[in-house]
Amino acid sequence: MSSTVAHDFQYESASYQAQTAVAGMWLFLATEVLFFGGMILTWIYSRHWNQLGFDAGVRQTDLSIGTLNTFVLVTSSFVYALGLLFIREGNIRQLIRCCVVTLVLGLIFLALKFGVEWPEDFAHHLFPSAPNFKISGPSEGGARLFFIFYFIGTALHGVHMVVGIGLLLWVIRRARRGEFSPSYHTPVTVVGLYWSFVDIVWLTLYPLIYLIGRGR
C-alpha cells in the first residue's frame, strides 16, 4: 500500500487503471462461476439420479428462513447499489450509510443461516453422516446426498459472504478517510460487483435448496 503511485507506472492514466481493475474483477467472477458451477452441476446431476431422496431432503428445509434470507440479501445489494449512486454524486456520508446497512443485512443473513437454520438442521439429525439420520427408507441415500450439497453449498456461500463483509469494512474505512470522490471510487465499484455476484449465487442456491421438489 505504501508506494501506490510507483506501482502504477504501467498505466497511462488513473481512469484507465480504474477500468482495468473493474475488468479484472469481472474476470475473477468468471472463475467463480466455474467454481460454483462445478458444484451446482454435480448437485443437479446427483438430483437427477436420486429424485425421491432429494425431494424428501428439500421438504426438510426451512422455507421461511430461506425466503426471508433471500429478501435480506437482495435488499442488501440494492442498498449497496444506492451507495454507488451516491458516491458518483460525491456524497460520502450517504455512501458510508449505505455500506453500513449492507453490512448489517449481510450479518443478519449469516446469523439466520448459521445461527438459526444450521443448528436446527443439526438438532433434527439432518447432518448427512449422522448415524441417526432423520430420513430412512428408500429415499435415505438421496436425502443424505442432498444434505451434503446443502451444507457444502451454504458453507461455501457463507465463506464468500464473510469475505464480502471484510471488503465492506475496507470500503467503509477508506470512505471515512475521504479517499473516494466522483472521479475515483473504483474499490466501491469492484466490491459492489463481488457483493452482487455472491447475491446471485444465493439466487441459484435458493431454488435448489428450498423449492425444487417441495410440492411433490
Binding site: V5, Q10, L27, T31, L34, F35, S129
Partner: protein
Amino acid sequence: MSMGMTDMVKISDGAAEGSYLTDGWTLRSWLLSTDHKRIALLYLGSITFFFFIGGAAAALVRLNLIVPEGLLGSAEAYNRLFTMHGVIMVWFFLVPAVPVTLGNFLIPLMLGARDLAFPRLNLFTWYLFITGGAITLWALFVGGVDTGWTFYTPLSTTYSQGHVVLAAVGIFISGFASIATGLNFIVSIHRLRAPGLTWYRMPVFLWSIYSLSVLLVLATPVLAITLLLLALERLFHIGVFDPAIGGDPLLFQHLFWFYSHPAVYIMILPGFGVVSEIIPTFSRKSIFGYKFVVWASVSIAVISFFVWGHHMFVAGTSVYSAVLFSILSYLVAVPSAIKVFNWLGTMHKGFVRFDAPMLYALGFIGLFTIGGLTGLWVAALAADVHLTQTYFVVAHFHYIMVGGMVSAFFGGLHFWWPKITGRMYPEMWARVAALIMFIGFNITFFPQFILGLLGMPRRYFSYSPDFQVLNVLSSAGASVLASAYLLPLAYLTWSLFHGERAPANPWGATGLEWQTTSPPPTVNFVEIPVVTEGPYAYPPPETVHQQNV
C-alpha cells in the same frame, strides 16, 4: 489490485537507470518486489527446485524397474514415488513452468508495458504457489499419497492410506495462484499493449500465453471445487462420489479431466509460443502463416474443453459419448499439425542457424510430432481399449510433456537468458546439452512405446521378466537424461558470474523485448515504444542474400 490515486506517473531515477537486477540488493527488495522480472526469477528458482524433486522421484521409479521383481522391495513405496513424481511435475513444474517464469518476465516486455496489470497480485501468486508447494511436499514426505496424481475415487476417498487431504489442500492453494496468474495475464494483454500493438501485431508467444491463460482461468476453478468435494468426503465421510448413497464415483473422473485435459494444453501451449519465437529468429524469416498459427492456439484452447472423455473410454461411459469424444480428440490434432507444418514452412528457404535455442526447438518439433501422432492412437477407440493403462500411454504423454514442453522450456530459457541475466551462456556446452537431452530422452521413452504395445501395464511395481531388456534400456536412458538436465544447471549458473556480457539484441531478433537493454531497467522502457509493423519483420530473404554474397 492497485488503485491509482493520481494521474501523475512518477518514475524514480533508480528504476529508469541500471537494470532491475541492480535496483536494490536486500532480501526484502526481492521477496517483496512487485517487479514482474524479479517475480519471474523467484518463480524460476522455485520451479527449478520442484523440477529436481520430481526428477529425483522419477529416478527412483526407473531404478525400481531395472529388475522385474522391483528393486525397491516395496510396492507401497513405489506407488508413493510415482504419485509424488506426477503430482510435483504436473502441478508444480509443468503447469506453471513457462507462464510464471518466461511469461512473467516477457509479457510486459513484449507488450511494451512497464509491468503487468496487477503487480501486487502477481507477487501474491508466488506466495500462494510456494505455500501450496510446501504443503504438498510435506504431505509427500511425511508418508505420501498412493493414489497416483489423478486421485481417482473411491480409492482416494475411502481406501487410500496416504495423506490425500493434505496433498489436495496444497494443490488447491497453488490452483489459486494459477487462476490469479491467468487473470493477470489476460487483463494485461487486453489493457497494456503499447500504442500501435494491435492483436495481429502481437508475437505468437503472447497469443499462446493468452490462450493458456483462458484455460487456467476457466478450468482451474473446476479442479478446485472437485478437490474440495474430495477432501470433504474423506474428512467428514460425506460422499458426493459415494455410490452407497447414490453418488457417482465416475463423476469425479469427469470433473477431474474437465480440468486435467485442458491442463495438458496449459502445459504445451507455452511451448508452442516459445518455439514460434525461436524458429523465425534463427531462420531470419517471418513466421509462415501467422494468422493460422495464432488461431491454431486459440482453437486448441477451445477444443481442449471438449475432449476430456477420451480419458474414460474404458471407464464404462456410453459408446456414443466415447465415439464423440474420440472424434473431438482427432479434431484437436488439426490445429496442432497446422503449427508443425507452419514451423517447417518458416524454416523453408530461411537462413537457418543452429544455435542452442534452435536445437532445442528442433528437438521439440520432432518429439512433439511423435507424441502427437501417438496421441491419435490412443484417441482411437478400438486401439485405446488395448493401449490404455499401458506404458504406451506413459510414453505418449512424456513425448508431449518432457520431449515437447521441457525442450521448449530449455529452448526459451537459453533464448532469453541474455535478456534475463545480461550474460551469454556458453554456446558449445548448451549445444552439447541439447543433443544429449534429445538422445537421452529417446532412449528413455521410445522403449516404453514398445513395452506398452507388448502389454506392460503402467503403475505396477513389478513386471514380467520378458520386459526386462527394454526396461533396463529405458532406465539407462533416464540416467543420460538426468545428466543432460544437470548440465544447464551447471553452465547457466557459471554464466551468471563469468558469462560474456550480452548486448541488447544478441540474436538480431525482432520483438519489443530486444529493444531495451539486457538486462532491462526496472521500468522496462524509459519511453514507451510505438509499434508500427507486425511481428517478425525480418528483411526479405533476397536482400539478406545479396548482403551475404
